[in-house]
């Protein structure tokens, strides 16, 4: 045997290596076996899907290997995100493979005893028996369905189920419904669909507290628009101004950050309006031709009304506004001059933090800036979101039981009393369930929501849950609410099921996304949409007739036919092909790509989306469907709604109070916000501002370690939640960065780690919602009523800090 030097050392190395494997495993042999397995090349298939981590609805491409999901990327064809993704999207993999997912249906042993796994047949028959029993007793309306943050056909299906079953109580638990237009836009512009923001084409964006680049609507869509605003070929670099009490990452990226006393955004907007009017920088042509209520006016009865112009000039002088908002006069003037001179400009006042009783008027005041700059219905301004041409469904068949059930008022009181402007009022729900007002709830179905963890009224919800005899959860996880359920019928996660998405607020196009299962279900779970159809079938009668589809896939198939038949729009395709089609269409040629609906459906499933990029309603008149057919500074629509409600309920006080007004005079319908009196600090000298992180998906994402580990970049944090404190405030209280502190409100207190952050006003502390493990800021948030969202107010609580 020849011993080479190399061979010798290899032998020695091998011996040493073997000796090092002290645990006695023949790890090398094992390794060899694994290697063999790896040699077989798995079959790689890319399956389009839709990200469901936030309302953004980005198109995904799921990389599957032998049918198993092994990676995610953005769908390059999808018009919402064009192949890009945000960090949350990748958490979807960890969501799918979460080891703590429920493996199948669970029921209790005895009265709320231990959970035990059961079969689907047994689970479904339990639920069906309960539902049909209640219906037979004439108690259909006492079944409440709580739905969380989702859009599209699943919503349609649940609503249809509720209508056919006979319960008015299909209640959505979420801050704001993205598929509906903002109230201010509805009232001032008369729109029935949400507005599209043409951010990418704008030259100036003025945002009031909207976390445009974090958790506004679709972060990817918004970021792409932001990138175009900043740098897109020939245009000069666009400007971006952010009004926010906190220097959020969005504010960091802005050219100008305008720190503001929380809740005074409307006053600032009116100050800017004042400057625009005073310096005659507003779009006179638009105001003259397309606005109502700007100048003083005389109504049909000959009464004189003061217009927006004079009111603003009189009441909102820059010094007054500056004193109330904390924004220097110079800054207000400069913003106004930017807004008056840089075109096109767009002002964003949708979503963002709630402003309490002044919310509607604040948003109206902000939106009036869009009118003053003439940004409505122009490229680079506010566009209208067209409606999807989905096939209409046959009307729901309602039997006697259903009709009787639907005659009852809603349990949450939405559309009534102080909640007369909202369609859902989950905030009021627990109290009413507890008080059995106007009737007790006998069964509760929870779909994609976890009010016991994520709702500010979670304690009240917990008490209410105790009163409900039968709670069913469809959550794939044992979250706080499911842990209190009697029956759990776990849903698939979104990569395992058929679904669609209908995203709104897009830059001037409509879009329908379709996803088929990217991977076979990992566990014994079932798509809740399929379960709803199965229950309807089992309940029989009019329910089975109203929901006749075998599977949810069939339902989607039926609805999407309308897209094929609409004679417009495209199944997304490669950019080159698409631009060719658009050139043709501009010249009046629209040719269908597919010969049959089956072909269309097949392509839709393979490419992931349908969209209609042409026929943008870029015109002023098209937007203005108010009673005056103009942009209404004086919201006559609101007046009509108040008048109607007063007629219905016989009193006006409750509405005036809900709207934060003094009486039913003109001021109630004009976009003006009263300047609040100066408040003494009192026992709770600091304001609590909660915000959403870019990295937190719907539900908080506690099963997504990647996101928990690196939640944000503006502060150094990981896993654990935190509170942002101004260094000055901290030093006054003797708090050092990184120390734990108690944040205390009138409701309760939580222990969080202090992060010193100078990007804030000194008297405001900021806590991210779902910031991390540990304390839940919902334990602090005072349950104040929000008549414009029906959700709790997340930004109005006052707190104090104590060293822990």
């Amino acid at each position: 045997m020849r011993v080479t030097r190399r061979g010798f050392f290899q032998t020695i190395g091998g011996t040493a290596g073997a000796a090092a494997l002290i645990r006695g495993k023949l790890a090398k042999a094992e390794q060899a076996g694994e290697d063999l397995g790896r040699w077989a090349t798995p079959e790689e298939v890319m399956v389009p899907s839709i990200c469901q981590q936030c309302p953004g609805g980005c198109g995904l491409m799921v990389r599957t290997l032998d049918g198993k999901a092994a990676g995610l990327s953005g769908n390059p064809l999808h018009p919402v995100n064009r192949g890009a993704l945000c960090p949350k999207a990748f958490g979807g993999l960890q969501l799918l493979y979460d080891e703590n997912r429920l493996k199948g249906p669970m029921a209790r042993n005895g009265e709320r005893g231990r959970f035990r796994p059961i079969g689907w047949d047994e689970a479904l028959s339990m639920l069906t028996a309960r539902l049909s029993g209640l219906r037979a007793k004439g108690l259909a309306h006492t079944v409440a369905i709580l739905g969380g943050q989702y859009r599209g056909s699943r919503d349609t299906l649940w609503r249809r189920f509720a209508d056919a079953y006979g319960t008015p109580n299909y209640i959505r638990v979420r801050c704001l419904p993205p598929e509906r237009p903002a109230l201010a836009h509805q009232l001032m512009q008369g729109v029935t669909t949400p507005l599209g923001y043409d951010l990418g084409e704008a030259q100036l964006i003025l945002s009031f507290g909207a976390g445009l680049l974090e958790a506004w609507l679709g972060p990817v869509h918004a970021s792409q628009a932001f990138a175009r605003l900043r740098r897109s070929g020939e245009r000069p670099r666009g400007r971006f101004v952010q009004v926010d009490p906190r220097r959020s990452p969005t504010a960091v990226k802005a050219d100008r950050w305008v720190p503001i006393v929380p809740g005074t955004d409307g006053i600032l907007a009116l100050g800017i309006a004042n400057a625009l009017i005073r310096e005659e920088l507003y779009d006179k042509e638009f105001i003259e031709r397309h606005a109502f209520g700007f100048e003083d006016w005389v109504d049909q009865r000959g009464e004189r009304h003061e217009g927006f112009r004079n009111l603003v000039l009189r009441e909102y002088g820059l010094l007054t506004v500056s004193a109330a908002t904390g924004v220097p006069v110079k800054a207000i003037l400069e913003i106004a001059r930017d807004l008056g001179t840089i075109k096109p400009a767009v002002v964003i006042g949708e979503r963002g933090p709630a402003y309490g009783p002044d919310d509607l008027h604040t948003r109206m005041a902000i939106h009036s800036l869009n009118a003053l700059t003439g940004s409505i219905g122009v490229r680079g301004g506010l566009l209208i979101q067209g409606e999807l041409p989905l096939s209409p469904l046959r009307p729901v068949q309602q039997d006697e039981a259903a009709k009787r059930g639907l005659e009852h008022p809603r349990i949450d009181g939405a559309g009534w009393g102080e909640y007369f402007l909202v369609s859902d009022a989950p905030q009021a729900l627990p109290e009413r369930i507890l008080g059995a007002k106007p009737y007790p709830i006998n069964a509760l179905l929870l779909f994609a929501t976890n009010p016991l963890g994520n709702h500010p009224a979670k304690e009240a919800f917990a008490r209410a849950f105790d009163q409900i005899p039968f709670i069913v959860s469809f959550s794939p996880f044992l979250d706080d609410s499911s842990a209190r359920a009697d029956l759990i019928l776990p849903d698939h996660t979104y990569l395992e099921r058929w679904q669609d998405d209908q995203v709104t607020h897009l830059a001037g196009f409509t879009c329908f996304s379709l996803a088929r299962p990217a991977t076979a279900p990992l566990h014994q779970t079932r798509s809740t949409a399929d379960v709803v159809l199965q229950i309807a079938k089992a309940l029989g009668g009019s329910l089975a007739k109203s929901l006749p589809w075998e599977k949810f896939e069939d339902f989607l198939h039926e609805r999407a036919r309308g897209l094929y038949e609409a004679g417009r729009g495209y199944v997304v395709s490669a950019p080159a092909e698409e631009s060719l089609r658009r050139i043709l269409e501009r010249q009046g040629y629209w040719t269908p790509e597919f010969k049959s609906y089956d072909e269309f459906w097949g392509a839709l499933g393979k490419r992931g989306a349908w969209w209609d990029p042409t026929g943008l309603p870029v015109s002023r008149e098209a937007l203005l469907t108010t009673p005056s057919r103009k942009f209404e500074f004086y919201a006559s629509g609101l007046k009509r709604r108040v008048d109607e409600a007063v007629k219905r309920e016989g009193t006006g006080e409750v509405f005036v109070r809900a709207l934060g007004g003094a009486d039913r005079g003109d001021l109630l319908y004009l976009p003006v916000v009263a300047i609040p009196p100066v408040r003494e600090p009192g026992a709770f000298p600091l304001r609590l501002n909660t915000y959403r992180l870019m990295s937190r998906p719907i539900g908080g994402g506690r099963n997504q370690p990647w996101l928990l580990e690196q939640p944000a970049v503006h502060v150094r944090a990981s896993w654990e939640g935190w509170v942002e404190i101004h260094p000055k405030t901290a030093s006054e209280l003797g708090i050092k960065g990184g120390e734990p502190v108690w944040v205390e409100s009138a409701k309760g207190r939580v222990r969080l780690r202090a992060k010193l952050y100078a990007g804030t006003l000194p008297d405001v502390v900021h806590i991210p919602l779902f910031g991390g493990e540990g304390a839940n800021p919902n334990d602090l948030i005072a349950n104040e009523t929000d008549p414009f969202r029906g959700f709790g107010l997340l930004n109005t609580t006052r707190v104090r800090l104590l060293k822990a």
Binding site: A70, A89, E214, F226, S695, E709
Partner: protein
């Protein structure tokens, strides 16, 4: 031969960390857990750094700087490796051989950008959802950004099978692919017509710690109109 490079436009970057998490998913980088994270052991091949201009008032002036491995042309890390476990390959990508690394962490100490990460424990086993193109690292070795080198290999195999060159845009790392603001542009620096080459000549272009002479192939574009 191609010289793969990256341009990161800080004016576009929003600090969202899509690149960070995309990288983790693509390269089987595990979350290390709360305890380890507190100890400062997060592994983040791509990391968004926050530059604070005024240290007494953090938050008043900030800039987000995504930092992958800068793939230096004169890398300080490869020189010091005693076993050739890290080296600069002919296309300029600084590679790490996990099976050879002895875990001395000299390269970590030598890298002025702190772009190298160590497996202090065995943070994960092979499991579902991982990318089979990238090996799962054992404990005790250093790991780093590879410009998603496995994607280059895939692209090359595809091109070879079709008898052509790798086309521009065919090979893109996961971070650049994910970036919602399109702040990360990737391509061949040796091709004067490529977007990266063009942007690298921009007035706004600068390199991190340029004065050290490491010749990074990741080029940054500064914010605003001015020079870096």
């Amino acid at each position: 031969m191609a010289r793969w490079g990256m341009v990161i436009d800080l004016d576009r970057c929003t600090g969202c960390q899509a690149c960070v998490i995309a990288c983790k998913a693509e390269n089987n980088v595990p979350a290390v857990g709360a305890k380890e994270a507190v100890r400062g052991r997060i592994i983040s091949w791509m990391q968004v750094l926050t530059e604070v201009e005024d240290h007494d008032h953090p938050g008043e002036q900030m800039r987000f700087v995504p930092r992958p491995c800068l793939q230096c042309d004169d890398p300080p890390c490869t020189k010091v490796c005693p076993v050739y476990a890290t080296y600069r390959n002919p296309e300029g990508i600084v590679a790490q051989i996990y099976a050879r690394c002895i875990g001395c962490r000299f390269c970590m100490a030598a890298c002025p950008y702190n772009a190298k990460y160590f497996n202090w424990h065995r943070y994960q086993k092979e499991g579902p959802g991982q990318n089979p193109d990238v090996s799962v690292r054992p404990k005790g070795v250093v790991e780093k950004c590879t410009f998603c080198h496995h994607r280059l290999q895939h692209a090359r195999e595809r091109a070879l099978a079709e008898g052509r060159e790798v086309a521009p845009g065919e090979y893109v790392p996961a971070c650049a692919e994910a970036c919602p603001a399109r702040a990360i542009i990737f391509g061949d620096l040796s091709d004067p017509g490529s977007e990266v080459s063009r942007l690298a000549q921009s007035r706004r272009a600068f390199r991190l710690l340029e004065e050290l002479g490491t010749k990074p192939k990741v080029i940054y574009l500064t914010e605003g109109e001015g020079r870096g």
